[in-house]
Symmetry: C2
């Protein structure tokens, strides 16, 4: 008995999944124990040429019709967006007793619990391996291969576009604006580039990973998200002098005080595996109490890698493999106690532009001392007389709220010429 699937959305990911299913039909049938056949496809633009394989498939104009199509067992939602048609299609499909495979991180981050409840109620699968880290099977690893561990921390480089931009700023000395344009031309950025650049995409993904790791419902509103817009070549140079590289990290930590969820640029030591993830590659580092630290690295986007994860989910359904979407039954997912960014503890890099006059450093360190923050290192670049001095200081670990107060006080000093720029530092 073949598994009959309908694919809604034929963009990069949908096109990738279609290509794999066409190319590897025989291999997939052998590995999954039964054939997977595409009984319907749908996309916005019917006229686009998608090749002979796609032309031979049944086209439906209204993707919503797939939800109730008797000739479809599994609906593959690759339309995207947390609301609208993607959400309706997934809901209606689950309600109609069809399993759903999706790559839609926004949808899962925002409505995952409600959708998982629907899947549970109707005894069907809701799978979303492709929603995080493209071709890297990190969701399966948390749910399955590493499931014997209590997880303490998940750290990821999970936005390939930002990593591409930061890598080339680092290696080629090209400014953010120029790299952003290039990433846009290469099709590396979402329609609204703010999703990538401002850390929203990574926030969706880390909310999903945190839920799987800590057994809490995904809480996208509890993710602190700060993007890479303000990272300058100057910061990259200073970071290098400190033996670090700047990466956009997504971090979820289980602490005694609650769960931390944060996305922001961070200085990581060059010796860290995270510092050595380049271009559009993704890496997820998982800490479990028995397994220790495990690293997963691979391509985080693109037709092939993301399509590979979509098809893997379909093959699991064909095999009759059935995991709960968030590992635990929905009723057992906790509401989670979350820690606000202000209560997080880390160490800091602060770049300042100050007047070239005596006493400046004394004034700055006084403001740090007032918040009981101890300085770790101090760097200053040569400058022309009369020009503002660029200096960088790094701190030992402190609470974010203390750091914010210290920076606000420093910003008010007459000798400080620009708004200070702060980047968090992560030791792994």
């Amino acid at each position: 008995m073949p598994l009959k699937i309908g694919i809604a959305g034929l963009g990069t990911v949908g096109g990738g999944a279609l290509k794999i299913l066409g190319e590897h039909a025989q291999m997939i049938a052998a590995r999954a124990g039964r054939p997977v056949v595409i009984t319907a496809i749908s996309a916005r633009d019917k006229t686009k040429d998608r090749g002979a394989f796609a032309r031979a498939l049944r086209w439906v104009d209204d993707p919503m019709s797939m939800a109730t199509d008797p000739d479809i067992d599994v609906v593959v939602e690759l339309i995207g967006g947390s609301e609208g048609i993607a959400k309706s299609l997934v809901e209606k499909s689950l309600e109609a007793g069809k399993s759903v495979v999706t790559a839609n991180k926004a949808l899962i981050a925002h409505h995952g619990v409600q959708l998982a409840a629907l899947a549970e109620k109707h005894g069907v699968v809701l799978a979303f391996e492709a929603a995080v880290a493209g071709g890297v099977p990190i969701i399966k690893a948390l749910r399955d291969g590493l499931a014997a561990n209590r997880f303490t921390r998940v750290v990821g480089i999970i936005n390939g576009s930002c990593n591409y931009i930061l890598t080339h700023m680092q290696n080629d000395g090209v400014a953010f604006d120029v790299m952003m344009k290039k990433a846009h031309e290469l099709g590396y950025l979402e329609a609204d580039p703010s999703f990538d650049i401002d850390g929203i995409d990574a926030a969706h993904k880390i909310a999903i990973l945190a839920s799987l790791a800590f057994g809490s419902a995904p809480a996208i509103d509890k993710v602190y998200a700060e993007g890479i817009r303000h990272v300058s070549l100057r910061d990259i140079t200073f970071a290098k002098e400190l033996g670090c590289r700047i990466k956009l990290l997504a971090i979820a930590t289980h602490t005694e005080r609650g769960i931390e969820q944060r996305v922001h640029p961070a200085l990581v030591p060059v010796s860290s595996p995270l510092a050595n993830v380049n271009d559009s590659y993704n890496m997820v580092m998982v800490e479990g109490d028995h397994v220790g630290t495990v690293f997963f690295e691979g391509r985080g986007a693109g037709a092939g890698p993301t399509g590979s994860s979509v098809v893997a989910d379909i093959m699991d359904i064909a095999r009759g493999v059935h995991y709960k979407p968030f590992t635990l039954p929905v009723a057992q997912l906790t509401r989670g106690r979350f820690i606000a960014m202000e209560q997080c503890r880390t160490s800091y890099y602060v770049r300042l532009s100050v007047a070239d006059q005596p006493g400046v450093l004394a004034d700055i360190t006084a403001k740090l001392s007032a918040e009981k923050i101890s300085m770790k290192a101090f760097l200053q670049h040569p400058h022309q007389p009369g020009e503002a001095v660029q200096l960088v200081l790094t701190t030992h670990e402190t609470e974010e709220s203390s750091m914010l107060r210290a920076i606000a006080a420093i910003a008010k000093l007459g000798s400080v010429k620009e708004k200070p720029y702060m980047i968090r530092m992560e030791s792994n």
Copy 2:
């Protein structure tokens, strides 16, 4: 309904699995959807104190009795060894309709197909995630998360003991013999250290990974295995000058001419992720046609990591998740066309000890030319007059058989003072 398991063998891995099952009983029940209870344990030495949790469990003197014990659903075989009691216990358990979880790479590499056929016949699970790369869920990734890909290559650092020894030879300049003693004292080596040091353990593991990747029956007799005994500090220094590190690699490649399976020390460029895997960490790199290259890194041995993989397999059985041991049904596993080491193509590092006299290099290069091997680089260390000269040459890619003939010819030159030592070079 709880899942009832019997654990046979309580060494490092058995002890680790026991600890996790005790510590995380509640979490495991929540994630797996039902409790996992240990209804019997067995080990060689009953008198050893294994703590209060173990003392409270039912002890059986004869592990073979577990195969027919009505109070056991799953037999967890952690005795080890490819023959004898481990093999009999697994066979009898499968025949009695019980699922089996094992960490026994020798058993699976030698008898995997026969055991998988038994599991298939009786409709039960045979799972062995812990057999390769300890806590790293690489078997699940090949069978599941990456299953939509045609695999072209699997490269692993999958013997933690060898990697520990090579890392410290590299970083601390300590000779092989000394490091080997230290690894032995730390309990890093198998009872027969030759299994680790001579590449046999890695050979078992790559035979299993090759089978999963290429759909062929594991063929341990078709793995070329060469260990790290002859790697000297001199080689490590020369490698460094060439921008490389020496690692024990296990390589399985699907080529048009057939499947290559080989384990040997190799020079890898420092920029390769493989060069940066240190101590007892393992890494497996998988190349798939759609996903590209994916890296998995984590602890390859020890109670916690390996126990974590054993318990993950048990949890899958508790959930009713059922994969075929080698992905494909046994009847569909191919016998595979394998390429002998002599037919493999790679590039080479050759270290020579030669007399300090004119014409030596000309003689050596003539022997290479005779086999149509082109030289790539040449290094020579300063020496005292009258002493033998240590020199190293590297070649472009050539067939192993040509290289072996060239080296045999070089070894016969009167000016060559010691047996030449050759190490293969891998560019990723």
